[in-house]
Amino acid sequence: MATDIVMPQLGESIAEGTIVKWLIPLGGHVQKDQSLLEVETDKVALDIPSPATGSLTEILIQEGETVPVGTLLARLDYHSESGNGDPVTTPVQPSASFGPGYSTVSGAPDLLSPAVRELVTKYQVDLGRITGTGMNGRITKKDILEFLDKQALLREEAGDSPSVQAASTASSLGEDLIPLSPMRRTIAERMVKSRQTAAHVVTFFEVDFTTVEKARQDLHLTYLPFVIKAVTRGIAAFPILNSSWSAKGLVLKHAMHIGVAVAIDEGLLVPVLKHADQKDLLQLGREVADLSQRARSKQLRPEEVQGGTFTITNHGGTGSLFSTPIINQPQIAILGVGAVQRRAVVVNETVDIRPMAYLSLSFDHRAIDGATADQFMLMVKSVLEQPAWEVTR
């Protein structure tokens, strides 16, 4: 008995995925729930567990290939291993358990649902080329969408795509062409889109990290949890910073889900600390460490990179002093944190050596004005410079 391995839907907006690596070789044995392959999408990279115990009898899509969600990737034979002929998915039950108040549905083989009719008209689909997988062979919406995806894939493979032409040209000129990974494409798309839509303005503040320095040594933390804490306090005072742009108006988010940009080998991921305002410094420290570690090892779940309401990028980690970050749409601001450096500063009319850093706030001038942005930054600065830190929420 064989089961199909298909490209999973990793998050609601994901249309395709790239096979990074087959973790089980062809013919290899795999346990149910053991990692079978590594897949990357434009949002996450993660391991896909096997749906059953068995041996990998067929690999249809090779490493490095990008295919639409639902594409058949491989086949797993588990008949020989378990001797159990049960299919993996539970078959449709008759509706016997329904009480008197419930509806049941029945299909007709030649029935085209309104959704299917619309797609057929829109894309001029030849229904003769599609085999229905629905009840009594009904052609479902999914069948049409999968068919359309395959058609698009075939056109690309036919060799008329610009990337293939560019590749041949590049190599002939003594240059190397680096293919764009899905993550690279996504980053490129989103950054350009953000630049094109938002009215970016950047404001800079200098912050004295003396008390943070002391507290973080006591608590064995990085600077980041303190910055996150200061940002949540800033948002509490100026909630508008926690809104997102929409055509109808600014949507003010009540929950503070703070995204933290993490550099990984392939690019950049922004895991999100949910309800960051409700967590104490130690919790924030733990979660930042956990999310960064799992971002690098591609263990993030789709929901862990979604739903952010404000983003922090810690470019100082690589020695950068200033930066003008690009806003993570549809949010309206992003905070850049520069490197903390010991500098001579004037304090109480004398020169003192203090750990200092530059903070930059890129904000969308469509949504807020400079005065609001600066008041928010003053709040963040004053929280970071508070005389004594406590591990409170």
Binding site: I240, S243, K248, G249, L250, V251, L252
Partner: protein
């Protein structure tokens, strides 16, 4: 207690204004210019004029459909009343509701609903607000004897008494609930009996004597203002027209109407004004002419006012919240 000349002339003016306005309503109804029903307080004007005149400016009334005098005393103009009857945009409900179904919080008037006695719990609630906030404002509410058979009447009296709320309940006992005579409505002779069960002091007054209503109301209002709780005042009267203007009221014996005609509240007031030396025929004529003129211009205002546009029907189901989620 005595009534001053200026107070009495004020009451008399409003009796005449109410009578003249409602007579005009009847005329407009018979001419087919009023599209819906028309309900008047003909012969019962002394009750609403009397109690409403005894209130202070920031008090509240929760009236019913025989209370035209109270609406006018509280500042609803005859023009607004006629605009309301004609379904015009200038009426207090902008055409959303008809006839006497109108209110205005700025003028301290709760609009009533057709479900009679529903306004009584609402009146007690306003009194509760005043009590909680320690204000000396009071509420006056009125219903017919018909409405006193409903549960809301009893729930309102009970709650008002338990919490000693500053509300005064009037009952316009006009002997008929539509066509049903009093003895088929209740097994007691006087509606005031009902108040006893709630330990509310009750009084019976001649509802056709505006001065009696006025002075009794004043005393009850004073009690309420001083924290002594509610009073129930039964005003005995007679409905001289049908339930509404389409109803010929043939079920009411003619001799009963003839008898009550002699007790007409306007004639009654005139007799007393003359006796007290406060006014005489030339004064009555002068007031009558003034009132007629007011009604003429009210008709003109109402007729020249625009009707609402159909889609305005969609407006106002909800009050807008000042705090919106989208900013």
């Amino acid at each position: 207690m005595e009534i001053s000349q200026s107070e009495f002339l004020h009451l008399y003016y409003y009796l005449r204004l109410t009578r003249a306005l409602e007579e005009r309503v009847t005329t407009l109804y018979r001419q087919g210019r009023i599209v819906g029903g028309a309900y008047t307080s003909h012969g019962m004007e002394a009750i609403s004029v009397g109690y409403a005149s005894a209130l202070q400016a920031d008090d509240i009334i929760a009236p019913f459909h025989r209370d035209m005098g109270a609406f006018l005393v509280r500042g609803i103009t005859p023009g607004e009343v006629l605009a309301q009857y004609l379904g015009k945009r200038t009426g207090p409900t902008k055409g959303k509701d008809g006839n006497v179904h109108m209110g205005d919080l700025k003028r301290g008037i709760f609009a009533f609903v057709s479900h009679l006695a529903d306004n009584l719990p609402v009146a007690t609630g306003a009194a509760l607000a005043f009590k909680i906030r320690g204000e000396s404002r009071i509420v006056a509410t009125n219903t017919g004897e018909g409405g006193t058979s409903r549960g809301d009447f009893h729930e309102a009296l009970n709650f008002a008494s338990v919490r000693r709320l500053p509300v005064v309940f009037f009952c316009n006992n006009n002997q008929y609930a539509y066509s049903t005579p009093l003895h088929h409505q209740m097994a007691i002779k006087d509606v005031v009996e009902r108040a006893k069960a709630y330990a509310i002091p009750g009084e019976i007054v001649d509802g056709n004597d505006v001065v009696s209503v006025y002075l009794t109301a004043q005393r009850a209002f004073q009690r309420a203002r001083e924290g002594e709780g509610p009073t129930f005042i039964e005003c005995k009267t007679m409905r001289m027209h049908g339930h509404s203007e389409h109803d010929s009221a043939k079920y009411v014996p003619r001799e009963l109407l003839e008898e009550w005609k002699k007790k007409d509240p306007i004639l009654n007031a005139e007799r007393q004004l003359k006796k007290l030396g406060y006014a005489d025929e030339p004064d009555f004529h002068e007031i009558h002419m003034r009132v007629e003129k007011e009604i003429e211009s009210a008709v003109e205002f109402a007729e020249q006012s625009p009707l609402p546009e159909g889609p305005e029907a969609l407006e106002g189901v909800f009050a807008a919240n000042p705090v919106e989620v989208l900013i």
